[in-house]
Symmetry: C2
Subunit: 225 residues, 2 copies
Amino acid sequence: MKSQLDKPVSNTDRAITELRRLVFSGELPAGSDHLESELAERLGMSRTPIREAARTLESQGLLELRARKGVRILPVSPEDMREIYDVLTELESLAAERAAEQGYSTTDLTDLARAIADMDAALDRKDLDTWAEADDRFHTELVRLGGNARVMAITAMMSDQVRRARAVTLFMRPLPVQSNEDHRGVYEAIAKADPQRARDLHRAHRERARDMILGLLERHRLRQL
Amino acid sequence: MKSQLDKPVSNTDRAITELRRLVFSGELPAGSDHLESELAERLGMSRTPIREAARTLESQGLLELRARKGVRILPVSPEDMREIYDVLTELESLAAERAAEQGYSTTDLTDLARAIADMDAALDRKDLDTWAEADDRFHTELVRLGGNARVMAITAMMSDQVRRARAVTLFMRPLPVQSNEDHRGVYEAIAKADPQRARDLHRAHRERARDMILGLLERHRLRQL
DNA sequence: GCGTTCATTTGCGTATGCATTAAATTACAC
DNA sequence: GTGTAATTTAATGCATACGCAAATGAACGC
């Protein structure tokens, strides 16, 4: 479905979408270099839109433009992960607090509730991929409910950067039972319009997740993703 | 002075720097439209580097590329200000907390102390421009001490977006005496390695500033900057 | 006078070509 | 064989050209 407000999709837009996909799918692995001309041919367009797309993705921290070496897909180190989780913790906690201040009805919270239900169901089936997808949806929706467009943009950017890492850690971590309980707590706090509790619970949730992931990376000596 | 590590300054880099300057100086006012060809001629280069620079500045929230209408300098509304201050509050408070955890010596805190001293001196002389410059330095240095590169990048971006607003509000607000006291408190908490206090004090500082600015904008019916 | 259609102009999006310069390769001296 | 200088190669950074769609304005009917 294509709304009338959509602006026509330019090649540059396609390049952005497609390059992101290639990075997340691992077809362009972290740390690898790629000539502009190579990417241009691969996506069936000239270097111009590729360069513009790369500029955008560069300022989003996904890759780097290096003279004469093409674009380098940026690896994510454990230190990067710590930075990113710290940012996510702060901004999502703010979003949770603000969401709880809005006095949302349960109807407003439908998507959030559905994400939680989907996570529960996926967890029962031990279907971690589906769980991860629903977890993403929960966090995205939580931030949306917070009502700050900049927080949305930043958290989306940060989540992009750790997406590759999750593919690795998801199957090394214990079953995310605690996570699901955390989410329900945050949901309740928002539904009951208790901003302080929503913030505190979500912060604790994120800090636990951060420590768990960083612990995993360290124990498995994963220096970059 | 040009270190050997500096990569050669490309026209695109020049365009980024120069366009930012033009926006902050008000030569390209908020809300105005500018043809790419016009900007290209103005900066003495072709449209190509202008477009690449614009892409970068677009993802930093300073302007917008619109088909056939050229580059639009994005205005900042009071709602935008609220969003930006919320983000700054969260991330700078985190930086203050982290800075206090590092066990910095007073030598490490020299720049921070100097910024405070400069603000005091400027305040005595009622030299608001110098005060604002030192205030900037304080916040930048505080975030640097926090040690999170992403927080640095994001807060720098957000500060850019409100820079124009300050030119307006700086001379409408009461003398920032409270601000200077706040800064000293944050400094002390970092020097005494008291993370929780550093965080709380800085948060209170930012929230006061936000409410003051938003109040000013509302009282003066300033709908966009 | 007002709306509608058609012609014209304009500016972006993109492809293409080329100069520059860093990197790679070879030639060569020792 | 190793280190250095000369030569070649190659990829970016940028200027330029052009098609196309949107905006503008003209022509025309009512």
